[in-house]
């Protein structure tokens, strides 16, 4: 029982981060048909920038997070202006977008390393404090992350469902042709999508940094495929789906280590659980948990 609680908690923590990262990727896909292979590096960037501001410059932690989210937005915007906009104008196809996104990731990585070094970093927060809960050990930082990430998920969900620009984004994703003719400013929608995904990337990076306790510059990159798995699980292009898909995948990856699951998956196969989930979902329910049959995949 305590095992179940423990793994569920661990899964929720990981899952909530997956969810936040996945929703950014999913929004970008739904609006721009872009599979963002650079998403992982935005996480790393966010974590390192927050580290730099809050630890090196000793600024307020929350302030640092906000600044690094703004920076994530800024870089996304910059790339939209110099890169993605031009590619769309050139009618670049899926392959071109794939390769450019990978290229951007290759460019971002050394920049991060150049700016922040290769060392392992940690935030100024007690990573050892734990609470006992029905026999499970709940880490203080992870509890914080779970609370703040859940709050963020709520805010994101509310934003997408209630804010006008959120509705415009969903409308555009749902029917781009109609969106353009019914008065939705497409440029604004695209920009908003980039800004949101940039901000969410940084935020997820900070959360991931907190959960890991310490992080280095390959943090985000190594999680990228798990994010994709979460996106696919929750139906590609469906923002709510990505949120739920992220949570489910996190839970699934952790719970798979429990012995009731085929005797428990050895921990060195943990990433395979994510990849296999991805393949299996694509295989048997390609429309994802929120998609409907007949949706083109």
């Amino acid at each position: 029982m305590s095992d179940l609680i423990q793994y569920t908690f661990n899964g929720l923590v990981v899952g909530s981060i997956f969810a936040i990262a996945a929703v950014g990727i999913s929004l970008l896909y739904s609006v721009l048909r872009l599979v963002n292979f650079a998403a992982g590096d935005f996480l790393t960037l966010g974590a390192f920038l927050t580290y730099f501001l809050s630890v090196t410059l000793e600024l307020n932690f929350f302030f640092s997070i906000v600044v690094s989210m703004l920076a994530g937005m800024g870089i996304s915007w910059f790339l939209e202006l110099v890169l993605w906009r031009n590619l769309r104008r050139n009618k670049a196809g899926t392959l071109a977008l794939f390769l450019v996104a990978t290229g951007v990731a290759l460019m971002l990585r050394p920049i991060i390393q150049f700016l922040f070094g290769t060392e392992t970093r940690k935030f100024n927060i007690d990573i050892l404090k734990t609470y006992d809960f029905l026999g499970a050990r709940i880490a203080h930082t992870q509890l914080l992350v779970l609370i703040f990430a859940s709050a963020s998920i709520l805010v994101i969900a509310l934003f997408i469902s209630k804010a006008r620009i959120g509705k415009d984004m969903r409308a555009y994703a749902n029917n781009p042709g109609l969106a353009a003719v019914s008065g939705i400013n497409v440029d604004r929608v695209v920009l908003a999508t980039w800004l949101i995904s940039g901000a969410l990337g940084s935020l997820a990076g900070v959360f991931q940094g907190l959960v890991q306790g310490q992080f280095n510059n390959s943090m985000g990159e190594s999680l990228l495929l798990s994010f994709f798995a979460a996106v696919v699980l929750g139906t590609i292009g469906d923002a709510y789906g990505a949120l739920v898909g992220g949570l489910l995948l996190g839970l699934f990856m952790e719970l798979s280590q429990l012995s009731f699951f085929f005797g428990g998956v050895p921990s060195n196969y943990k990433p395979v659980v994510a990849f296999a989930t991805l393949v299996l979902v694509l295989l048997f329910k390609p429309e994802g948990i929120f998609g409907y049959r007949g949706r083109k995949v």
Partner: protein
């Protein structure tokens, strides 16, 4: 500059470029003919390379039979990938194929008893003690370099012998691929790249055609794996990260997605680009520390692909239409 003009390293680069050329040729057949975006191609290379190592070291097979089985297994992996996920459309398939390759890599990484696991092929359990797997082909490589010695002197090396093995094959494969492209079979595939309904309505089993393309591409991935295994004489899971597939795509895009012959120049160009970034030691870059120059190298590779897609998406030889009309 002195170091830059020494031929030895470039011989290595050329041999490697040939291997990458064969690797990219597999992608070329899949994408350029069939429109399939396979981002897990490196998995095929890993499978065939590892099959050779395991069969030769663990079971003392002949290298050549092991290579044959390796290519067959790569083809089977391609078939498995296709049968399970080829029904998906473009980007979904691409993501699934990455996952496929990663699962393969993790299996190699974690199955010490067969693959040597994290230690690479040198740790494959081996009844005869430590041993490489290239003894047989090494005889041939030595034979070639002995023949080359009177001509090029000390430049005769294993790498140069590799060129004499890899490049003729690359030319042969490019010839085969260009023949293949002219067949009615490829014609149907080129049609499916644009539209499934037309060939289907004309009695063509589109799925079967696609699957065949994927398998043929995988065979070339497997063959590249054979040469890779030969070139490096030791394999480790870290050699088969997804970035390698990306390099293959980079060559393909340089060549122009449907230009088979462009692959020759593109492979050399890529090899040169990749190799020459190791020489960024001149002023003012010499002011940077060696780690900083190493970041610059990765950055440049990313920068070139982004610039290429932005300014010349059709590659060095392709027609712009081909990228735009996707």
């Amino acid at each position: 500059m002195d170091a830059f003009v020494q031929p030895g390293f470039w011989v290595f680069v050329l041999a490697l470029a040939g291997i990458y050329g064969i690797f990219a040729l597999g992608l070329q057949i899949q994408y350029g003919v069939g429109g399939i975006m396979n981002f897990g191609h490196v998995g095929m290379m890993a499978v065939s390379g590892y099959t050779i190592a395991v069969l030769v070291i663990k079971y003392q097979w002949s290298f050549w039979w092991a290579a044959f089985v390796g290519v067959v297994l790569a083809a089977l992996l391609g078939a498995l990938l296709g049968l399970t996920t080829l029904r998906l459309s473009g980007d979904y398939f691409a993501i699934a194929s990455i996952a496929f390759a990663e699962i393969t890599r993790y299996w190699i990484l974690n199955t010490d008893s067969v693959t040597g696991g994290t230690q690479g092929t040198l740790a494959i359990p081996n009844p005869l003690g430590f041993g490489g797997y290239t003894n047989q082909p090494d005889l041939i490589l030595t034979w070639i370099s002995d023949r080359l010695y009177p001509i090029v002197g000390d430049e005769a090396s294993r790498d140069m012998s590799m060129i004499f093995i890899v490049w003729p094959f690359l030319f042969l494969f490019i010839w085969i691929a260009s023949k293949l492209q002219q067949t009615s079979w490829a014609r149907v595939l080129r049609a499916t790249r644009e539209d499934d309904d037309v060939p289907r309505s004309l009695g063509k089993n589109v799925f079967r055609f696609r699957l065949q393309t994927l398998v043929i591409g995988s065979v070339f991935g497997g063959i590249a794996g054979v040469f890779w295994a030969l070139q490096f004489a030791l394999l480790a899971p870290e050699d088969f990260l997804r970035i390698v597939t990306f390099y293959g795509w980079m060559i393909l895009i340089l060549a122009g997605a449907t230009r088979v012959k462009g692959l020759i120049i593109a492979s050399i160009f890529f090899g040169f680009l990749y190799g020459s970034t190791r020489f960024l030691e001149f002023w003012p870059l010499s002011l940077l520390s060696s780690p900083e120059r190493a970041y610059l190298r990765v950055f440049l590779i990313g920068f070139v692909i982004v610039l290429l897609m932005l300014k010349r998406p059709q590659g060095l030889f392709g027609k712009r239409q081909e990228m735009v009309l996707e």
